[in-house]
């Protein structure tokens, strides 16, 4: 048990700066908008953050396998569209939720099979599937429409701490997943595919399951966004593609696979969310967040390289 905590502590290495910056921003935010310190305010805040947290974790999972997912935005859009059109069906809210999450898992599985068994580069496969998924969303709902039952909207995005509970469930679920051979296998096969395969890790299965769960989370984010707005929108997910990558990169998840933590991805997404909120309250145009995200990604990835170059120059 002490070994477990020692290892968990070591995995915080390199995240210290992020946690400090994040704490600083949260304090600044609380000073600017004291409303966040009330229970209702904190609930709202978590609700704003929640979809971003879901896509950041989804992206982090794919990056842990050594791939990258460029179809996150399209999938969020398709999730919102499927949710908004299926809830009115014969099976109601439960059926619609199952249809949305099942669709996400199914599409994720398909992409995982192509990437893992087909051994094609994830970037091209997900670029292509992002167009297929986006096209499918446009076929289902060419323009924003459909409806989410007000009961569900109120349950997920109303005055209840549902998002907080779901986040806790997500963390617990991740801990459980990491305790299974497939969860550990996901990180092993991202870190060293050949080594993992030779030590008997079912690398294909681990990767495909990761893609399936990632698709499920992305579709879930779409469902949540639809619940927030009350309807489905095929292109509502677009900003999430880069935001998810930015959050995961901020959270110290490596592009090379096998390196990264859930807490990092969550902290990264929280920082992105706070940044976007602050920019919104500063009356900056919404597109300014693109500029900030682009700069954040480059600076975060470039900093270690610059440090290394400096060290070499000093020597």
């Amino acid at each position: 048990m002490s070994l477990y905590w020692a290892i968990q502590w070591r995995r915080n290495e390199g995240l210290g700066a992020l946690f400090i910056v994040l704490a600083g921003f949260l304090i600044l935010y609380a000073v600017l908008f004291p409303g966040i310190l009330s229970i209702g305010g904190a609930g709202r805040f978590v609700q704003n953050w929640f979809p971003m947290a879901l896509v950041a974790v989804a992206q982090a999972m794919i990056m842990l396998t050594g791939g990258i997912d460029l179809s996150v935005g399209a999938m969020v859009g398709l999730g919102s569209v499927v949710a908004a059109t299926s809830m009115g069906g014969a099976f109601g809210i439960a059926g619609g939720t199952a249809a949305t999450l099942g669709m996400g898992a199914l599409v994720g599985t398909g992409v995982g099979v192509i990437v893992s068994i087909g051994r094609y580069p994830a970037i091209i496969v997900t670029l292509a599937t992002s167009f297929i998924i986006g096209g499918a969303a446009l076929l289902i709902l060419p323009r924003p429409g459909g409806a989410i039952p007000p009961v569900l909207s109120d349950f997920l995005a109303g005055d209840h701490p549902t998002a907080v509970l779901l986040l806790i469930l997500l963390v617990l679920g991740w801990k459980l997943y990491q305790a299974t051979p497939l969860g550990i296998g996901l990180i092993a096969s991202g870190d060293n595919p050949t080594g993992a395969y030779r030590s008997g890790v079912p690398t294909h299965r681990a990767r495909i399951v990761a893609y399936a769960l990632s698709g499920l989370l992305q579709a879930g984010a779409g469902l949540y966004v639809a619940a927030q707005t009350g309807s489905g929108d095929p292109v509502i997910g677009q900003p999430f593609t880069l935001a998810a990558i930015a959050a995961a990169v901020l959270g110290g998840v490596s592009f090379l696979g096998g390196q990264g933590t859930l807490r990092g991805a969550l902290a990264g997404s929280l920082l992105m969310s706070v940044l976007i909120n602050v920019m919104f309250f500063m009356n900056l145009p919404p597109v300014a967040q693109y500029v900030v995200q682009g700069l954040i990604i480059v600076v975060t990835v470039a900093l270690p390289q610059l440090k290394q170059m400096l060290r070499r120059a000093v020597r």
Binding site: I123, I124, G135, F255, A288, V298
Partner: protein
């Protein structure tokens, strides 16, 4: 993995799309009246010129082992910036064109510095550039469209020499230059070397960083050319004008038989890939014009061409 035996050699991979074009043109000519008329074919090649020009940079970057996701944003920048940099004493309009190309080349050089010097992953660097530009463009240009009144561009978009539109001739000239550079010079050979094994080529004395910087600068320049050509053909520039060209440039590269993993391929294939893409889009439009279906079919097309384009061998 039965597909492994299905390896075509490089020359066959580049000639296959030419064969497909001929088959499609003849086949469609029988079933669709007017499809195989000289005027329509010429129009399709004219449309392909834009994809073909972006494809130059994309092909070079992909052969060099990278990818450029910022081409669409660069095209839009060129189309939007062009009227802004026009100045009165410049009666022919050539000054504005050169300035625009300098801006586009500068964007490419920024990518090149990030990837070549700072060693950032190409995917991240170019994605971040694209997002940053996307935000900046909306802030600078807003939602309004700009009209082209540059004399040289108007001439470019409307004149024919010996029955061939000037824009096709421009494409042919730049394409010839690119082919000569890629296959006839020492630097061109270095591009293939870097794409095959960056470490080995650096150790054997290739100025890897300089060549990488050059590749991305060229990609910015050709995307700028494509943007200007698009502006000349359209007569109007607006934010989002370049968006379709990210996927189509990658599709043209993949269709043309260039390995997405780098080190193998030729621009000769991309030329055919661009024409093939336009032909298939035209055929899809005849069958069904819905944006959703077009997107889906394009995505499936790229997935379907992946077996020709190479797979990850190291896992």
């Amino acid at each position: 993995m039965t597909l492994r035996g299905f390896a075509l050699n490089d020359r066959m991979r580049a000639t296959l799309p030419y064969g497909l074009i001929i088959v499609l043109w003849i086949g469609a000519g029988f079933f669709l009246p007017g499809f195989a008329k000289f005027g329509h074919l010429r129009y399709m090649v004219e449309l392909a010129a834009v994809i073909g020009l972006v494809g130059i940079g994309q092909t070079l970057v992909v052969i060099g082992g990278g990818i450029d996701l910022s081409v669409a944003a660069t095209i839009t920048v060129a189309a939007i910036v062009m009227p802004l940099v026009s100045f009165a004493p410049d009666t022919t309009g050539i000054g504005a064109i050169l300035l625009t190309l300098a801006v586009a080349g500068g964007i490419g050089a920024i990518n090149g510095i990030g990837i070549g010097i700072l060693a950032l992953p190409p995917l991240i660097m170019t994605l971040a550039t694209a997002t940053t530009l996307q935000g900046l463009l909306v802030i600078i240009a807003g939602g309004s469209a700009v009209t082209v009144n540059n004399p040289l561009l108007v001439w470019l978009g409307s004149t024919r020499l010996l029955g061939i539109p000037v824009d096709i001739l421009v494409w042919a000239a730049i394409a010839a230059l690119c082919l000569a550079w890629l296959h006839g010079t020492r630097t061109g050979a270095a591009v293939f070397a870097i794409g095959t094994n960056a470490l080995a080529s650096r150790l054997s004395g290739i100025a890897e960083r300089r060549v990488t910087l050059m590749l991305y600068t060229i990609s910015g320049l050709t995307a700028g050319c494509a943007g200007l050509l698009l502006l000349a053909m359209n007569g109007q520039g607006y934010v989002g004008i370049g968006d379709p060209y990210l996927l189509s440039s990658i599709a043209a590269v993949v269709l043309g038989g260039t390995s997405i993993l780098g080190g193998r391929g030729s621009y000769a294939g991309t030329i055919a890939g661009a024409i093939l893409l336009v032909t298939m889009t035209a055929l899809i439009t005849v069958v069904n014009a819905s944006a959703g279906w077009r997107s889906i079919i394009l995505g499936c097309l790229i997935l379907g061409m992946l077996p020709l384009s190479g797979r990850d061998q190291n896992r």
